[in-house]
Symmetry: C2
Subunit: 450 residues, 2 copies
């Protein structure tokens, strides 16, 4: 039986032989895809005579796992650039949360669709989304061809309804889009969801075998405030609620202290953290303590957060910034090497969204989520060190081709599943209503002190 897709002549980024998170590069490689799965990563010579429905000649290109955006709010691209150069309190209370009270299903779907287009062009093949009206986000996932983990966000201020909707959504959408959609429960944060709701969420996660995706310790001020008010840190709040004993994805974690490491270690769940370095810099928040988390074996995936704070959904940029910012914050240029950054972008990000062994590696048996990247631009020559070139010189615009489940979503930078001008025009018509700020209307209230 012929293969569905054969890619030849590329350099391939593959897992290192040691299995310890190292990576290797194989020259003149070939990738064979059948039924949406990578059947083999072999030599171009090996597949010269292999019949295939589709072949891509990828000489001068790098084949690598697609990027995984481990924490975003995709519909928020509708608010990209609307509230700039301000502190988080003002950003939330005066701009974003009032405007989010104007959200409609069409705006959510258009925003998510534009986000999917941006992510496909940036080489993202999976994303973890945490927002409202998630059926509309799921529709964008279906149409775009991307893979996603989706969670319907809730606050305790919504009463029992928000949590119930989160569970209903997670159970109904689990496994949708031919398995490309997985789901999570999505309480907003310890400062907007009370202890009883957090504990109930942990029980529901156990009962239904669902992971949980939550914001926590987004910045150090939240941690300090939690300690002052309640005598416990956000990590201790999560522990007390039982959330460290389920499969938990913590967004940001910038306020995780050294004292919290033992708390995290005591959890029996599969715990991971998503880091979004751009927004951290922009709010002046410090950054995720990746080195400390590594010391206790907690994977850290790369993320962009929403475009209203982060301005881009460019996970390649998150990788580059993680490498730079980690060196700067630890004042250690030998830390967060290019190869470590690539490990965060691939294996650790796959673990963070619960898909280790499924995506995040060019290896037989993994889903065929991969990208082809141009190696020939002047900005990436000469190729003294291909890992450093990828992390520090190349960028998302070098991605030529994006493939999910063996399906080509972008070929030579041409999007094949989404019509950007049509989406952008339709969204533009919705913006005047979206950006109105009405007295007394807001989805929530943010207190700087958490």
């Amino acid at each position: 039986m012929p293969a569905d897709l054969v890619i030849t002549g590329c350099t391939a980024l593959v897992p290192g032989a040691g299995g310890d998170g190292g990576i290797d590069f194989v020259e003149d490689a070939a990738v064979v895809v059948r039924d949406g799965v990578i059947q083999a990563v072999t030599s171009a010579q090996d597949v010269a005579d292999l019949p295939s429905a589709e072949r891509i000649d990828a000489r001068g290109q790098l084949a690598m796992p697609g990027f995984i955006n481990c924490h975003t709010h995709s519909p928020m691209v509708a608010l990209r650039g609307i509230a700039e150069d301000m502190a988080a309190e003002e950003w939330f209370n005066d701009w974003i949360w009032p405007m989010e009270s104007n959200l409609t299903d069409p705006v959510v779907e258009l925003g998510a669709s534009l986000a999917c287009a941006e992510m496909i062009r940036g080489g993202v093949t999976s994303f973890a989304d945490h927002y409202f009206a998630m059926d509309r986000v799921a529709a964008a996932v279906v149409a775009s061809g991307l893979r996603a983990n989706l969670g319907s966000a809730f606050f305790s201020s919504q009463g029992a309804e928000g949590r119930a909707r989160s569970v209903e959504f997670a159970l109904r959408l689990r496994g949708a889009a031919g398995g490309r959609i997985t789901t999570s429960l999505a309480p907003h944060a310890p400062y907007t969801v009370d202890d009883a709701d957090l504990a109930a969420t942990a029980e529901l996660a156990h009962e239904h075998g669902l992971p949980v995706h939550i914001h926590a310790a987004e910045n150090r001020a939240q941690t300090d405030s939690s300690l002052e008010r309640y005598g416990v840190s956000p990590m201790q709040v999560l522990a007390r609620a039982g959330l460290l004993d389920v499969n938990l994805l913590i967004a940001h974690g910038t306020g995780i202290r050294d004292e919290d490491l033992a708390v995290l270690q005591n959890g029996s769940g599969r715990i991971a953290v998503a880091t979004a370095p751009r927004g951290n810099l922009k709010f002046g928040w410090g950054t995720t303590p990746i080195r400390a988390l590594r010391s206790i074996g907690i994977p850290v995936g790369l993320a962009t957060d929403g475009a209203a704070s982060n301005n881009t959904l460019d996970v390649w940029e998150s990788m580059t910034l993680t490498a730079l910012v980690q060196k700067s914050f630890e004042a250690d240029p030998t830390w967060m090497t290019a190869r470590q950054a690539l490990d965060h972008a691939t294996r650790q990000s796959a673990r963070a969204i619960g898909l280790e062994g499924v995506v995040g590696a060019l290896a037989a048996g993994h889903r065929a989520d991969l990208i082809l990247v141009d190696l020939t631009g002047p900005h990436t020559r000469p190729p003294h060190d291909i890992a450093a070139t990828r992390v520090h010189s190349a960028r998302s615009s070098d991605v030529l081709t994006t493939i999910v489940d063996g399906r080509v979503l972008m070929r030579d930078r041409r999007l094949l599943t989404l019509d950007v001008p049509a989406i952008a025009d339709e969204l533009a018509g919705q913006l005047p209503e979206l950006v109105k700020r009405r007295v007394g209307r807001s989805v929530q209230d943010y207190r700087a002190e958490g």
Copy 2:
């Protein structure tokens, strides 16, 4: 007489009416170019019937001044990625300076040519270069069509010869390439050029009306060491040598202290600083104190440093990182707004390389150094705030067309003056000799303690 070039239908980034560094955006604008000079920035309607040798329909594009790379070592792209994830001492002493002893004229010209290709593709129209074998860099400038300020670098360890060569080069090349080349004297740094040589340089600058381009206070350790050893900071060393009384471009200045501000204020020269935020992060060095320098009216231009430390020559990225890193270092999200960052990228960078009023603004009488940038990508929609979109969402790969002195060097991302595959292939043949590290051969010695 017909115009040489008319660009129509673009959004134009122009100086604000206040003349205080503000910027404005004009919709449906037109730019008229004659004899390499911007003759008018007007409305598209105004030029509908104007005869012109060449017209560019730039609807859906932003016209803005080209970027200015205020401090680089262009030939060092030949060493891009060769020495990664290490401290500056090891980087200089064990890798870069030994390899630079292998430099040949062909390597310098090929490296500079590849650098010019990268910069044109990134929307850079001018660069300030500080290196060796500068006649070969000048040849690359001539061939590429870029504008440049060139300085022949010297150490006191070279004896009188290095300084003499720097003066001879600066006088001979001043005004070359039809005026596109300006020149500077280029002592390497206070820790590699002794006080007598620095003072002699200041005298030569006065005598010949030449500016000086020098590394100083690259990091805080250099400042602390200078204070400990000599009782004076690098800024005080420059002052004592008379270099603050000439037109001086200081590269990095990351180690400038609050106490140095009065020293800088006492200088009678036109002093500017070039900031290269990427390399600062990568070496864990802190960053240029832009807010303090602004308080005393010292302009700060954007730079990339050489690609061996910075990995890219992408000044757009330097603008983005400057905005992000300044907010983070000052822990103030309201500082370094998108419009401030654009002012650093344009007016302040032009001042830094001594070309204020010549380049850095789309305004009548300025040289026609400009770029056209795509506004239609999904990652830059919707356009709630065009300044924020440019600084935080767009990137150098959105540059479609690059123009210097009215000559189109790249059109719709196609380079018109340089053949990248040929340059890269020829450089590849030179690399085995370049990267040899031979015992006892090095151009200089770096002491961490300055």
